[in-house]
């Protein structure tokens, strides 16, 4: 038994010594080839990721555009432009415009356009500015303080 244990021990020592000499490594060209493949693969994955992201973004943009689109808007939004500015003697606006109490104020405004008060402050002098945005056209009464005090819808 002692001899058997001794032999086992010697064999273990021999295997350990042999293992210590086993330091073979894969040849360097293997690593070079693998690095080249890694770069190629990583580049391919990046391209694929960008393609997918672009496609998703394009679809999302289309959905947003489709949801926000209205029949009247066929192009980019039109910025309001000042058609003309005229100075007219200002009459105080009606305290309570009839148009506000009527059931069809828009039709009423079209036929007999009146200024609608936007606040209760008295206006002694001011500037009427005509603004146009798309199909909407209106006169805005600007006071000396630069604030809009009344508006009249023309179209």
């Amino acid at each position: 038994m002692f001899e058997r244990n001794e032999n086992e021990s010697q064999l273990s020592r021999g295997l350990d010594a042999l293992a210590a000499t086993m330091r073979q490594q894969a040849p360097a060209p293997v690593k070079t080839r693998l690095q080249a493949e890694f770069r190629r693969h990583a580049s391919h994955k990046r391209r694929l990721r960008w393609t997918v992201l672009s496609a998703v973004a394009a679809v999302a943009l289309l959905v947003v555009l489709w949801q926000t689109r209205t029949p009247r808007i066929v192009g980019p939004p039109i910025r309001p432009t000042i058609a003309k500015a005229i100075t007219i003697p200002v009459q105080p606006p009606a305290a309570v415009p009839v148009a506000l109490t009527r059931r069809k104020p828009i039709r009423q405004a079209r036929t007999t356009p009146v200024f609608i008060a936007l606040d209760d402050s008295p206006v002694e002098a001011g500037l009427v500015v005509r603004v146009k945005s798309g199909e909407l056209e209106a006169d805005v009464l600007l006071g000396d303080d630069g604030r809009a005090h009344a508006i009249r819808f023309l179209r």
């Binding site: 038994m1 001899e3 058997r4 001794e6 032999n7 086992e8 010697q10 064999l11 020592r13 021999g14 295997l15 350990d16 010594a17 042999l18 293992a19 000499t21 086993m22 330091r23 073979q24 490594q25 894969a26 040849p27 293997v30 690593k31 080839r33 693998l34 690095q35 493949e37 890694f38 770069r39 693969h41 990583a42 994955k45 990046r46």
Partner: protein, 197 residues
């Protein structure tokens, strides 16, 4: 980079971090290469090819590694073993896998020296190496994994796809076969010879 765990390095590598892949390769290429080299009896070209294939798989399909099923070294060596078997199958190489009675043990490497008397000298280490290479593959594998790569039975078992008890019994048998190959060299072997026969 070298202080990171294998799992962390693999995640970074899968995310395209080349340094992480380099660290993984430097850490494990040696064991993969040596495992194939010894399994093939010293075929350097095949060992190089299989090592490259193993790490190519790691580049292309890192998700195949499941850390819950074992360590990364075990996965890499298991992959190398599978690739090697596929290669042999394709080439129809007849790999002798003798039964556990050890019929394939040859006596060509037996010398007249008392091998076990001094198993650390250069010549006797070479003889021992030859004896290991002459072992049947199933025994050679466990010697490579457990003695050369320092794996525990459980880890070697995950490489070989068998229970840890099988690894233990194969290793025991492998050592007995090594005794058998080196027999007749000194009186100290007489007791062992009766055990392994």
């Amino acid at each position: 980079m070298n202080i990171l765990t294998d799992d962390r390095l693999l995640r970074l590598s899968a995310a395209g971090e080349e340094q992480a892949f380099n660290a993984l390769y430097d850490r494990h290429q040696g064991s993969v290469y040596r495992f194939v080299l010894h399994s093939t009896g010293g075929d350097e070209l095949l060992a190089e090819e299989i090592t490259q294939e193993v790490f190519l798989l790691l580049i292309r399909r890192p998700q195949k590694y499941d850390e819950s099923r074992g360590s990364l070294p075990a996965y890499l060596l298991g992959t190398a073993r599978n690739l090697l078997r596929q290669y042999w199958k394709r080439r129809r190489v007849n790999v002798a896998l003798p039964d556990d009675d050890g019929d394939a043990v040859e006596s060509s490497v037996v010398s007249d020296e008392d091998v076990l008397g001094d198993l650390t000298s250069e010549e006797t280490l070479a003889a021992l190496h030859q004896a290991i290479l002459a072992l049947p593959l199933r025994y050679r594998e466990v010697v490579i994994l457990c003695h050369f790569e320092g794996m525990e039975y459980a880890e070697a078992a995950s490489v070989l796809g068998c229970p840890a008890g099988t690894v233990c019994s194969r290793l025991h048998r492998a050592r007995a076969l090594l005794f058998e190959k080196l027999k007749g060299h000194g009186t100290c072997l007489s007791a062992t010879r009766t055990k392994v026969s």
